[in-house]
């Protein structure tokens, strides 16, 4: 390998690890922006009309824009790049014992398109009229016509940014799927693939199969905005509800697109830190398949009261409640895996376990919303907000932190501080519950989403409710402050942390066979695979782990 200068090595690299980290750092920056937005509008809700430190007074127009872009950023520019692209890029070649992705330059292109989309989105906040404020679902006619949304440029740029992001992940997804299908190490059969890779690839396939109609829809909406066509304009014969179908046909599978990788990360971590084989590996896969297939038939539960045929709602209520079964079963598998283990509560494990605990709340509250009768009341209230934050927060924050603490030694060759990690964990998990538990209550009291101020609504303007809103906001600020130890820990450990060995957690999967951090090309000699990935505490063996690449000749090398 010839010497590379800084630009070649870190900016225009085709190395999957560097690209993964590019996604990670972009995702982190976007998460900071999204967190800042959340802080701003939570302050407005807690102390309406006052000047927010670091922003100024929030106008209704800005409020809508903040809410919209908080949602958009957190899903498309934080959860997707970090869960799919960071872990996908970093782990797939390492875990299948390979030197890189099959199309390194396609991979680089996908990141560049993604970066461009992030830049376009950020630019949309600064154009005349401000950023788009029609909610992340962008229902037309509001999103389609500037005379309604008053963000002529913001809305168009937002739409272009989202479409570009889709293209980036299509390119990335093709790479993930092809790599996993074709480039596994010798001896790695279907059921020897670690769960996390299965999940990332299933998620990519789900994404690919669901996003197409929305891309077509985005082009149609773009024409509505810029050329004045009437695809979604009832005055010209179009149908605004059509967009909702296109959007949610993608939007609901999208939840599973980010859920599955998170589930995968958690599977890796709980097996390693409880020294257990994963309970019923195939069941996990089947439930994941079932979830993926079912997720295409549940989309209209977002539209129960949107004016679809009421008979259709019955069908979707049934499918929606059915999808709770595979997800619940997957969670039971994970809990069963803990049985009889030897659990080490490292920072990574704490985050992984808290994912299970918190996601259960998200899953259970989803049943209220999927049951059509109850949804009439809960639809578009804060109950929904709290519900999907209890799913997305564990997915995009808890599982990601779990993954970062776990794979950090592999990424940078050094350990993060466990003490700071635990402070960070409790400082994240407790405030998280304090933010969103009050919101369940407020939602049940009839408080609707995306409302700028509750002062006009006499039923919601009571002092008790306001105290709950303040509690949620204070908890948010506490949580944001507790991210500082993480950021310090992350960057300080990168430079000065305890040097890590190749396999510090005594894990089985192939990435731990490579040096920490892996050089370009990853492995000195490409490994071969002799056994499934979760052979921990096998009876009759001295050590409690049995790496996949270890030759079965008897003598222990680890």
């Amino acid at each position: 390998m010839t010497e590379q200068n800084f630009w070649q090595k870190y900016i225009f690299s085709t190395d999957h690890k560097i690209i993964g980290m590019q996604y990670m750092f972009t995702g982190m920056i976007m998460a900071l922006i999204g967190g800042y937005f959340a802080y701003t509008f939570r302050m407005q809700l807690a102390f309406p009309g006052t000047e927010v430190f670091g922003f100024g007074t929030v106008s209704p127009h800005e409020y809508n824009s903040l809410v919209t872009n908080h949602g958009t950023i957190m899903i498309f520019w934080v959860a997707m790049p970090v869960l799919l692209a960071t872990f996908g890029n970093f782990l797939i070649p390492l875990m299948i014992g390979c030197d890189d992705m099959v199309f390194p330059r396609l991979n680089r292109l996908s990141y560049q398109v993604f970066l461009l989309s992030a830049i376009v989105l950020v630019a949309s906040f600064f154009v005349a009229g401000g950023g788009f404020g029609g909610a992340w679902t962008a229902y037309p006619p509001l999103s389609a016509q500037a005379k309604y949304n008053m963000t002529q440029y913001g809305a168009t740029l937002w739409l272009i940014a989202v479409a570009l992001e889709f293209v980036a992940f299509l390119l990335g997804g093709i790479n993930f799927i092809t790599t996993l299908m074709n480039s596994r190490a010798k001896g790695m059969k279907m059921y020897d693939i670690p769960i996390v890779l299965w999940m990332i690839v299933l998620a990519s396939i789900l994404f690919m199969a669901s996003v197409g109609p929305l891309i077509a829809g985005a082009i149609m909406l773009l024409f509505d905005q810029t050329l004045g066509t009437g695809f979604f304009d009832p005055a010209q014969g179009g149908d605004p509800i059509l967009w909702q179908h296109l959007f949610w046909f993608f939007g609901h599978p999208e939840v599973y697109v980010v859920l599955l990788p998170a589930m995968g990360i958690v599977a890796e971590i709980i097996t390693v830190f409880s020294r257990k084989k994963l309970f019923a590996y195939k069941t996990v896969l089947y439930t994941a398949f079932a979830t993926g297939v079912l997720s295409f038939f549940v989309w209209a539960h977002h539209q129960f009261i949107a004016g679809i045929d009421p008979r259709m709602a019955n069908v979707f209520a049934v499918t929606t409640l059915l999808i709770s079964i595979p997800i619940a079963e997957m969670l039971f598998v994970y809990i069963a895996t803990l049985y009889g283990g030897s659990i080490r509560l490292t920072a990574a494990m704490l985050f992984a376990l808290s994912f299970l605990a918190a996601f259960l709340i998200g899953g259970v509250t989803g049943i209220f919303l999927g049951a059509s009768g109850a949804d009439i009341y809960f639809h578009d209230t804060y109950f929904v907000v709290a519900h999907f934050h209890y799913t997305f927060f564990p997915i995009a924050i808890l599982a990601v932190f779990a993954g970062l603490y776990y794979w950090f030694p592999k990424m940078f060759g050094r350990h993060m501080s466990e003490t700071l990690g635990k402070i960070h964990f409790w400082g994240t998990f407790i405030p998280f519950n304090l933010i969103f538990l009050p919101l369940f209550f407020l939602g049940a009291a009839g408080q609707h989403r995306r409302i700028y101020s509750y002062e006009l609504f006499s039923e919601l303007n009571s002092a008790d409710f306001q105290n709950l809103r303040v509690l949620a906001t204070v908890a948010l600020i506490v949580m944001l402050i507790f991210q500082l130890p993480f950021l310090y820990n992350f960057f300080a450990s990168m430079l000065r942390g305890k040097v890590a060995t190749a396999n510090p957690w005594q894990a089985n999967t192939l990435e731990w066979a490579a040096p920490s951090p892996p050089p370009h090309g990853n492995f000195a000699t490409l490994p071969e695979v002799y056994r499934p990935p979760y052979e921990y505490s096998v009876p009759g063996r001295e050590s409690d782990f049995w790496p996949q690449h270890e030759k079965p000749s008897g003598e222990s090398k680890a």
Binding site: P240, A280, P310, G340, G341, L360, Y377, R450, E459
Partner: protein, 220 residues
């Protein structure tokens, strides 16, 4: 539910019943799962000299720990589906005959209500149109004709447990029967632009005498 927010329509109690049912069934599984999770974390924490067990989860007696919860959840789901759809059917699909009809029109960013006048017929000269104020009689079954003039809105009355999106170019018909007098909030529940958060209406439920009195005042 009725402790947090009043029930002011004939079907509010039905919806609250479904919510309670789900809360009990789902809550049971939730607390069970969390309890088991925390018990395992405590029981199987790392201890010196205790090695983890090797359980594949593929044997029949191990899998039963998945199958039984799995089957029981299906049963719970079916119960929930049954009641959810029943309530849904009563509220959204099976409209009881209307005694009076009101027209509800959503605009950026106000609600306009057209009440039938003293003749109880909509579309006649004595109709009373108001903005941001809906006045209805207690105990009378109303049909509402919901329209929108520009973007999507959602007509939401929390005390009624009622919500329906308004879509430009379409008219949706729904129903409600107020059961107690009072003044309540009407909200917009679908993002409709800058003033969405300020799009507030008032619902006044009054007895027939007071309502007629109001109509007469409006007519003059």
């Amino acid at each position: 539910m009725d402790l947090i927010i009043e029930q002011a329509s004939s079907f509010a109690a039905d919806i609250d019943m479904v919510i309670l049912l789900i809360a009990v069934l789902a809550g049971f599984w939730f607390f069970l799962a969390e309890a088991v999770l925390f018990y395992f974390i405590f029981k199987f924490r790392q201890r010196k000299g205790v090695k983890a067990q090797y359980i594949t989860g593929t044997r029949k007696e191990e899998k039963k720990w998945l199958h039984w919860p799995h089957n029981l959840i299906i049963v719970c789901d079916l119960v929930i589906i049954f009641f959810a759809i029943k309530v849904w059917y009563d509220i959204k699909q099976d409209l009881p005959p209307a005694q009076e009809v009101v027209q509800v029109i959503g605009r950026q960013w106000s609600w306009q209500f057209v009440h039938p006048g003293l003749d109880k017929q909509l579309g006649t000269a004595d109709d009373v149109a108001t903005v941001d104020e809906l006045r209805v009689k207690v105990g009378v079954t109303y049909h509402f004709k919901l329209e929108s003039r520009d973007v999507l809105h959602s007509f939401s009355v929390p005390v009624f447990r009622l919500k329906q999106d308004a879509v430009p170019g379409r008219v949706f018909t729904g129903w409600f029967t107020p059961t107690k007098t009072g003044t309540y909030d009407i909200q917009c529940a679908e993002m409709c632009g800058m003033g969405h958060g300020l799009m507030q209406g008032r619902l006044v439920i009054e007895d027939e005498a007071a309502h007629d009195e109001w109509l007469r005042n409006k007519a003059t």
